[in-house]
């Protein structure tokens, strides 16, 4: 995402996991820019390495995972080179994160108000009144009734309400970047719709940069400005949301968009991508998509296509365009 002023830049990142069967490379020379002030989406299937990328940024890799190579810049600072105190300041104060199924992460024996107080006091010194005033403001922003919610225990709230409490909570420290990992999974259609609307409003009113990590393309179409597609530990395509959906370049992106069932559009144009995603333990040589690609040539089987800029703000890793 070669925007003028990216807030987060990942450069040539290689992340590996040591497992019983050997080494899994979950991010293989990944470079990604997160454009400031926009809603960015990182799209990939399970095992594509999208969660690993976020974990590397947030420093939440599991103990068997490690960063082999690469840099992660937040504005101009390489997070990986900072001392732990500075790193913590950036990671949890400047960048906020809403984890997958976060609605279950609220402590069942604490009232919602206490969650707000604890979160802030872990990082800053603020008076309780100030914290609660700010919490009320943010809860209103996510369309919840502060009086009702602050005094409630988590089990008294519905799934959608908890999800919105978590988002309000993540905004307490005025982060500049909000990362959301699969925020819509396991939600019903209506709840999902209102959550997306809330995120849109938060984005508009606060101007906060968002990075949405998801596999759900319809949700991406609804909210994202910029999209990066990940396949088997690599970024394969980057572009504006309309370009990605209307003129996909990479055969994987194309296949993905046409394999999404939808309530609109021609049923006969929906068709699955053949084959299975490869295992990260033993990825195919050359372009990783070649076993499933209708355009694969001999070159694709031997050489890895680099991610190149084909027009301004549009990157693709496919020999058909390079």
């Amino acid at each position: 995402m070669s925007e003028e002023n990216p807030i987060l830049r990942v450069r040539d990142l290689v992340v590996e996991y040591a497992v019983r069967e050997g080494v899994i490379r979950a991010n293989d020379h990944v470079s990604l820019d997160v454009a400031k002030g926009l809603v960015n989406a990182l799209v990939g299937e399970s095992g594509s390495g999208k969660t690993t990328l976020v974990d590397a940024v947030m420093g939440t890799l599991p103990p068997n995972g490690y960063i082999r190579k690469g840099e992660i810049y937040f504005k101009d600072k390489n997070i990986l080179k900072l001392n732990p105190e500075e790193r913590r300041k950036i990671r949890w104060e400047k960048i906020a994160m809403v984890f997958q199924a976060a609605q279950n992460s609220l402590n069942p024996v604490m009232r919602v108000a206490e969650h707000f107080i604890d979160t802030v006091l872990a990082h800053k010194s603020m008076s309780k009144d100030e914290i609660l005033r700010k919490a009320e403001e943010l809860l209103k922003l996510v369309r919840l009734d502060p009086e009702q919610v602050l005094n409630a225990f988590p089990h008294e709230l519905s799934g959608g309400m908890k999800q919105r409490v978590i988002i309000a909570l993540s905004l307490m420290l005025d982060p500049e970047l909000l990362i959301l990992d699969e925020p819509t999974s396991a939600l019903d259609v209506m709840t999902q719709h209102y959550l997306i609307r809330t995120l849109k409003e938060v984005h508009e009113k606060k101007g906060i940069t968002m990075l949405l990590v998801t596999h759900d393309l319809p949700v991406v179409a609804e909210i994202a400005d910029r999209v990066a597609i990940m396949y088997c530990a690599k970024i394969v395509e980057v572009g504006d949301v309309r370009k990605i959906f209307y003129e996909p370049l990479h055969p994987y992106t194309h296949g993905l968009i046409h394999s999404i069932p939808s309530i609109i559009g021609d049923l006969s144009k929906m068709r699955p991508i053949p084959g299975e995603p490869p295992s990260l333990l033993n990825p195919p040589p050359g372009c990783r998509f070649h076993p499933r690609c209708p355009y694969a040539t001999e070159k694709c089987k031997k050489m890895e296509p680099p991610l190149v800029e084909v027009e301004k703000g549009r990157l693709v890793a496919c020999f058909r365009y390079a």
Binding site: D188, A221, I263, R271, I273
Partner: protein, 336 residues
């Protein structure tokens, strides 16, 4: 023609708790028929009772009230021998292929034992050949590669195909598929639905497809019927395409308009039908009137007092709404 399965005024109430009994109305007064070789989709939010309805159709749980008929016979009045013959004719495909396959058994064992049980093969070699044939049929190729694998060696999509292969062994007439694609990767969903469609076409198996969203329902049950469930009752029923083109019930209209679509322009342009409230009433304390009244933007006083019956509004199209005729005309939110 006798339908394959018929539900007559079926209700299922679960009782929870020991001292203070709580009655949960999972399914309320449902009437349904499924013909031979038909596809019926059941769509609703989590907790609407769609899984319970699936289990009632599959004869896995006994209804509290009403009858479940298989080819005209009440399955809960069948004699032991009859029931034993009926049982394998309805098979299940579960939502979570991780849970529906025994982690301690290999592919060969998972498929081989029922094959032997149904007498499709006897000797070790015949069983093996039959397993290979089945694996090839459901698209697990090369089949030899899979024989000695355990479920945890397979991807989610492969596991679900294995579950499908297992369900085919007793030559079922009906398969109840409960959210079969919700736990597998998005690029594999359509191909699994294509596999199920092939079983429907080639083997004439009837399907009950249970889902929480309409997009995959439209793809799979395109030529079939769809029932929309809300809090244990069917609120709208008819041919799938008609329900999507001309939805009547405000609930169906709301979820249709809120379905995300993979098209950025339309997604940003469309107008979603606003609901009065986001929260579902509890299935323990149900409102006396229309179950959707608490959220319905069109509700009137009659909706609070009387529960609407499912009634025909066009040919083959049923709606449970007092004011179906007076609702504003439906304009698809994705059209300009």
């Amino acid at each position: 023609m006798t339908p394959l399965v018929e539900l007559r005024n079926v209700s299922k109430i679960f009782e929870r708790g020991f001292i203070r009994k709580v009655r949960v109305h999972a399914v309320r007064n449902v009437n349904l028929t499924i013909d031979k070789g038909e596809i019926l989709a059941v769509v609703g939010e989590s907790g609407c009772g769609k899984t319970t309805l699936g289990k009632l159709i599959a004869g896995l749980i006994k209804p509290t009230k009403g009858e479940v008929l298989w080819l005209g016979k009440n399955i809960w009045r069948m004699k032991r021998g009859e029931f034993k013959k009926y049982r394998p004719l309805v098979q299940l495909i579960h939502q979570d292929p991780y849970a529906s396959l025994n982690p301690a058994r290999t592919v060969l064992q998972i498929l081989g034992d029922p094959i032997r049980y149904y007498g499709l093969a006897k000797s070790k070699r015949e069983v093996r050949e039959k397993v290979i044939e089945l694996l090839r049929y459901v698209g697990l190729t090369p089949p030899e590669y899979f024989l000695n694998k355990y479920p945890h060696h397979l991807s989610g999509g492969m596991k679900q195909r294995l579950a499908v292969a297992r369900a085919l062994i007793p030559k079922p007439m009906l398969i109840v598929a409960d959210e079969p694609i919700s736990m597998i990767d998005m690029s594999l969903r359509l191909s699994l639905l294509d596999l199920l469609k092939r079983l429907h076409k080639e083997l004439g198996i009837a399907f009950v497809y249970i889902s929480h969203e309409l997009a995959s329902t439209r793809y799979f049950a395109h030529d079939g019927k769809t029932a929309i469930m809300y809090l244990g009752t069917i609120v709208e029923y008819g041919p799938t395409e008609q329900l999507i083109k001309n939805p009547v019930h405000p609930y169906l209209r709301a979820i249709l308009s809120a379905m995300p679509v993979p098209d950025p322009e339309i997604a940003r342009r469309r107008k979603v039908l606003e609901l009065k409230s986001l929260e579902l009433p509890s299935p323990i304390k149900l409102p006396p009137g229309c179950p959707f009244e608490t959220r319905c933007p069109f509700s009137r006083s009659i909706c609070k007092e009387k529960m609407p019956e499912l009634r025909p509004i066009e040919e083959d199209h049923y709606v449970a709404c007092h004011i179906a005729e007076e609702l504003p005309e439906w304009r698809p939110p994705w059209e300009e």
